[in-house]
Amino acid sequence: MRILVCIKRVPAPGSRINVCDDGQAVDTAHLGFTTSPHEECAVEEAVQIAEEHDGEVTVLTLGPAEAEEQLRYAASVGAHKLVLIPIVDVDWDPQRTASALTTAISDLESSEGPFDLILFGNESADAGGFQVGIRVANALGRPVVNGIKGIDLADGTASARREIDGGFEVYEVPMPAVLGVKEGINLPRYPTMKGRLASKKAEVSSTTLEAPTGGQTRVRLHRPVEQVSETVILGTGPEAAPAVVDLLEELGVLS
């Protein structure tokens, strides 16, 4: 069982996001970085599947050279092979990203054999384009379903569950397949000390690729106009309860 996970390095903001003066990127001067949450779960899912089915997990990212940090983190929680497509620009548009990833995946498959399963995150935490995995799957001619919060593999079929309001939809996807997973599919493990040490020595293969730009072009990033609203303090401590219930009555939710 060969599994590929495509991940993205994203800033880890707290309560406020600031933008660089040129409007082209998030100001990350005082921010840490992390793996986009859906993709962190995709790595965990791949490692769990590999553990169960005697598989091998490759993790691929397109990003700055520093994205090596996120690849090594994936190794520390069980990924076997790491591949970086380094880019200099801030962020590639979705078509360009998908095109480069498709080339990289095709190259990996011709040298090392086909992947039975390719996992993406449902969407990246930052740009949130909701399309790269679907474009790659389409280019590779493979079935793809997004929004997946449960995967069972049996007899060449991926049974995949997607959360809808109040339940799940079930898809039976023939492999090789592509799935876009969502956080909540599992609770990712923390790296062990042994895993951390091993990840420092893991080999990261780097492959430089070019791809044509797509038709969506960033003009600028900006923060939405904040609705400045004065917070009405209803009180302090349990003595505020009557004022709260007055409000609930006023809103008509006290039926």
């Binding site: 909701f130 079935p143 969506q216 917070t231 209803l234 505020a240 809103l251 939710v253």
Partner: protein, 323 residues
């Protein structure tokens, strides 16, 4: 010169979000000189067509096929692609829900066109300019869209669904796509119902707990209050990461977007990840010991205090008034 708007439905029940897309789309169509046409795909779709004319659709394309028994991202994407080709549509849009973004991405991949997801503004022209949301709505991106056929989704909750001043004189047109095995391999095969009745996404009252709740057991008083108000309990990402609540209870960018009449956020600091899931709530009451917490400063109402004392007191007061 057509704007096609995919209207999502679940086995004949129209998704409310589709009316947001129509509301947004009919205005865009008017500014761009396009006709606003709706698309419904699959079995039972016709019964969802009722409100579409009132919301500005001058034509409803009803796509049917023996294999379109239920939702399928590839089948719907392929169907919409074929319709976009046969109508020569100038633009194709949907609401930026899970399904809307997924289907339009499939259309984009098939047409090899750009796709701008989750727009809150679109200005037509030779090149369209768009404003779209990033980080679940905490950041905006202005982007140009240079395409043969323009593909966009409108961010969910960006507009309120409102009927047009005068309902359109609307016609129904049948469309039969040509679908092979490849398109139908991802049609929904089964469904599992976990909750009946109100859910986090639809509840009129949500009582949310964050790190400040302190433990799995600490949620009992929140459950009591939610029960007394006919609402449900939600939580922050810190809570699901600690394993105190299932991920299906998470309110946030990677969880559920809620839109209740009131959201009572207890012991939640209000990081961006959480805020974007809560910001569509009509009213927010923060309960926090820290008067400077982001959740408190952004909320319309706040109680400063320990949630472990405040929440039970509110529950008692509710019970007292209900008699």
């Amino acid at each position: 010169m057509t704007l096609l708007i995919l209207c999502d439905h679940d086995r004949g029940t129209l998704a409310e979000a589709s009316l947001e897309a129509l509301t947004f789309g009919r205005d865009l169509a008017q500014r761009a000189g396009l006709t606003c046409e709706a698309v419904l795909i699959g079995d039972g779709a016709e019964s969802a067509a009722g409100p579409l004319a009132a919301h500005g659709a001058v034509r409803v394309h009803l796509a049917s096929h023996a294999q379109l028994t239920d939702y399928g991202p590839e089948a719907w994407g392929e169907t919409l692609t074929q319709l976009a080709r046969s109508t020569g549509a100038t633009a194709v849009m949907a609401c930026g829900t899970d399904r809307g973004n997924e289907v339009i991405a499939h259309v984009a991949a098939r047409l090899d066109e750009p796709f701008v997801a989750n727009c809150i503004e679109v200005t037509p022209g030779d090149t369209w300019t768009t404003t779209r949301v990033q980080w679940g709505g905490s950041l905006l991106e202005d982007a140009t869209l240079d395409a043969g056929q323009r593909l966009v989704t409108v961010a969910h909750h960006a507009v309120e669904a409102t009927p047009a001043d005068t309902p359109a004189d609307c016609s129904l047109v049948q469309f039969t796509p040509d679908l092979g095995e490849e398109a139908t391999r991802t049609v929904v095969r089964d469904r599992v119902v976990l909750t009946q009745g109100i859910t986090l996404a639809t509840a009129p009252v949500v009582v949310g707990g964050g790190r400040g709740v302190g433990s799995e057991d600490g949620f009992a008083p929140l459950e009591d209050l939610a029960g007394a108000l006919g609402g449900v309990v939600g939580c922050s990402r810190a809570v699901t990461n600690n394993g105190w609540r299932p991920h299906s209870d998470q309110v946030g960018q990677t969880g559920t977007r809620i839109a209740p009449e009131i959201y009572i956020a207890a012991g939640i600091s209000g990081a961006i990840q959480h805020w974007v899931g809560a910001m569509a709530a009509k009213n927010i009451l923060a309960v926090n010991t820290d008067a400077e917490a982001n959740m408190v400063t952004k909320a319309g109402y706040a109680v400063i205090g320990d949630l472990h004392k405040v929440i039970p007191a509110i529950t008692e007061e509710v019970a007292r008034r209900k008699g």
